[in-house]
Amino acid sequence: MDLHLSSTQKIETGAQPVMDDHRRIHPGWLRLMHGLNALAVLILVGSGWRIYNASPLFGFEFPGVITLGGWLGGALNWHFAAMWLLAVNGLLYLLVNLVSGRLWHRFFPLSFHALFVDLRDALHGHLSHADPRRYNMVQKAAYLFVMLDSVLLVISGLVLWKSVQFPLLGELLGGYETARYIHFFAMSALVGFLVIHVAMALLVPRSLLAMIRGR
C-alpha cells in the first residue's frame, strides 16, 4: 500500500473497479491481440496475393502495388513468417476466450430472429450501439464467422504448406488442389469481412476508439 496517497486519490482508487467496469469496453490483452491479428492478416493477405499471382487460379491477377514481398520468394518469406503470428496469436485468443468463458457469454446464445432484426436495423442505418460492451446479433454472427473462417484458412494453409505431412487434413479438404480453392475463397470471405468491419468501425467511431484506447 502506498501510504502517501491523498484522501481524494484513495477515494478515486477505491472507486476504480466500478469506474473501470463502467468505462472499459475492451481489456488490454484483447486490444493487443486484435492489433497483432490485424498486422498478421494484412501481411498474409498482401503476400498471399503475390503468391497467387505466380500461378493464378482464375483469369485475373492482383495488381502488384497492392501486394507484399516484391517477388514470389519475398512474398513466401513474409507469408511463412506472418503465419506464426496469426497461429500463435489466434490460438492464445481462442484459449483465453474458452477458458475464461468470454466466448460463451459474449457470443452466445445466437438467435436467427435477432440476427434478422438487427441486420434489418443495420441496413436502415439505426442499429443500436447503446451498450458497446454488448455485441448485437450481427456482430456476434460476424465475429464468430471470422473466427471459423480463420481456422479454415489455417487448416487449408497447412494442407498447402505440408500436404504430405498432414494427410488426414488433406483428405478432409479434398486434396491439395481443392485446398488451394478453399484457401482462396476463405481469404476472399476474410477480406469481405474486413471491408465491412472497417467500414462499420468508421461509421461508428466510438467502436474504433474503444478498440484502440479500451474505452
Binding site: 498482401g46 505466380a54 511463412f80 504430405v164 505431412q165 494427410p167 491439395y176
Partner: protein
C-alpha cells in the same frame, strides 16, 4: 541494452551486422515503427521490404522454418500415389530459363561425378546407372508457384544408391550440380526417404531433355525447385551447400 535480441550471440552474422550498423535510438525507432499503423502502411511499399534488417529477420524465420520442417518430416510417411489414369496430360515444363534453352547432354560421354563424404568416388556412365534396380512411382509434383501435376517417374532408390557408393549417411547434406548450371541441396533424412528416386525415366520412356535428361532427383516430399534436373555431380557434405533459388531467398528445406 546493447543488443535488441537476447540471442544475438548465436544469431546470424547478417542480422548482427545489419542491426549493429544502427545506433540504439534508430534501432528502437525501427522496432517501434514495425508495430505502429504507420509501419503497417509502409509494409506495402517497397522501402521496408528492401530494408536489409527486415530481410535479415525474414531469413532468420526461414531458417527457423527449415528446422520446423525437418522436425515435421516423417521419414516413414509416404506421399500419396495415384493410378495411371490420373497422370497429368502434357506435364508442364518449368525452369529458370525457357524451353529452347534446355541443355543437350551427350549420353555416350556422360559421367556422373560423386564426391565428398563417400567411399567410392568413381564416375558413373549411363549404362552402369541404368543397370541399377528400378522402381516406379506415380506421385504429385507440387511447384512453389502453387500449381501441381501428377507424373510417373522411374529410377533407382536414392537411398540404395547412396549406400552403394558408401556415402556417410550421418552427413547433413547431399548436394547436386546440374548441366544447366542449376544447383541445390537436400537434408539426409529426405535423401534416404523410400520415395526419393534418382530418376532416369518419365512415363516409361528415357527422361526427355525438357524433364531433365539424363537424370533428375525425384522427391514427392519436396517442392519442385528441390528436384534438380540434368544432374552431373552429387556430393555428400556437412557444409551447407545452398541452392540456385535458395540463395536468392526461397526456403531451403522446401518440404511438402
Amino acid at each position: 541494452m546493447k543488443t535488441p535480441f537476447p540471442h544475438a550471440k548465436d544469431a546470424d552474422l547478417i542480422v548482427r551486422n545489419a542491426l549493429g550498423g544502427l545506433e540504439a535510438p534508430a534501432r528502437r525507432a525501427f522496432l517501434r515503427g514495425a508495430v505502429t499503423l504507420g509501419g503497417l502502411s509502409m509494409l506495402t511499399g517497397c522501402s521496408i521490404s528492401d530494408d536489409t534488417s527486415v530481410e535479415a529477420m525474414l531469413m532468420k524465420i526461414s531458417r527457423f522454418n527449415d528446422k520446423v520442417q525437418a522436425w515435421l518430416f516423417d521419414p516413414n510417411r509416404l506421399a500419396p500415389t495415384y493410378p495411371p489414369s490420373m497422370i497429368t496430360q502434357s506435364f508442364p515444363f518449368n525452369a529458370f530459363y525457357s524451353e529452347n534453352k534446355v541443355p543437350v547432354v551427350d549420353a555416350d560421354r556422360f559421367r556422373l561425378e560423386i564426391s565428398g563424404k563417400v567411399a567410392d568416388r568413381h564416375a558413373w556412365s549411363l549404362p552402369e546407372l541404368l543397370a541399377l534396380p528400378h522402381t516406379e512411382q506415380i506421385t504429385r509434383h507440387i511447384c512453389v508457384e502453387g500449381w501441381s501435376a501428377i507424373g510417373r517417374w522411374g529410377g533407382v532408390r536414392f537411398s540404395d544408391f547412396l549406400r552403394l557408393v558408401g556415402a556417410d549417411l550421418s552427413a547433413k547434406y547431399v548436394g547436386f550440380k546440374c548441366a544447366d548450371d542449376y544447383y541445390t541441396s537436400i537434408d539426409m533424412p529426405t535423401a534416404l526417404h523410400a520415395q526419393t528416386l534418382l530418376a532416369f525415366s518419365y512415363d516409361g520412356e528415357p527422361l526427355p531433355a525438357r524433364y531433365g535428361f539424363p537424370m533428375k532427383l525425384r522427391m514427392p516430399t519436396k517442392l519442385g525447385y528441390k528436384n534438380p534436373k540434368h544432374i552431373q555431380a552429387i556430393f555428400v557434405t556437412n557444409t551447407y551447400p545452398g541452392g540456385y533459388w535458395e540463395d536468392q531467398g526461397y526456403n531451403w528445406f522446401g518440404g511438402s
